[in-house]
Amino acid sequence: MRKKPINEMKLDFASRSVNEGFARSAAAAFACQLDPTLDELADIKTAVSEAVTNAIIHGYRNQSGTVTLGGKMYEDGLLTFTVTDRGCGMENVHKAMEPLFTGAPNEERAGMGFVIMQSFMDKVTVSSKPGKGTRVTLQRRLRRRR
């Protein structure tokens, strides 16, 4: 088991697209306590933005709901974020994670959300139940600077 986090946070916000910026900025502000590089911070903001946008567009299908952003940080520089919705959920998580797959073809989405999350973070895990919702967990270990 991992050691206890040295700090954690949790935020609930309405599933409105204007909150995408709010959520990634909050995640970045939280991450700043670990003194990340600008590149690390940019990667975290992008990954969190992808997960939150997915929750709003796909989880809630642009209907109103609550998205929860959780963050934890550990002594060794590990950061984890969870983005949780209680929306429609997914039957097939693997299919949703394929490059170029998009569940909203009319939105002019690139279908690259999960690919970007995976390449900008060290580890991405998704759990989902149809009718119950989806949780995306993003992990990134920051390079320690002395």
Binding site: L38, E50, E107, E108, R109, A110, M112, V115
Partner: protein, 108 residues
């Protein structure tokens, strides 16, 4: 659109702000309107003022690339931020979208 310049077939547009799912929709409509009016052979997007971009921004660029293709023109990006270049490479779109003077420092 503020600052858009059309000259000798090149439509140059400064793009700024945070290009996420929320912000991309406005840009899509405004860029398509400018393309419709000018029918340029080159769309030159100056991304110097872009503070943030995620896959919605990538979708915006790919959509405008396709739009320019239907006109027989091309898309060129000026001062693309590092995160944008990273996403273009991931998607393979850097093979057909031209990059000029990439931005070195990532703004936060």
């Amino acid at each position: 659109m503020d600052g858009a310049v059309y000259q000798n077939g090149v439509l140059r547009v400064p793009v700024n702000g945070e290009i996420d799912h929320h912000g991309a929709r406005v840009w899509r409509d405004e860029l398509d309107e400018l393309i419709r009016v000018h029918r340029p052979r080159e769309l030159l997007l100056d991304l110097q003022g872009v503070a943030f971009m995620d896959s919605a921004g990538l979708g915006l660029l790919l959509g405008r690339y396709r739009h320019m293709c239907t006109l027989g023109g091309r898309l060129v990006l000026l001062h693309a931020p590092a995160s944008c270049v990273k996403m273009l490479r991931l998607s393979g779109a850097d093979r057909f979208i031209y990059l000029k003077e990439e931005r070195k420092e990532e703004s936060v």
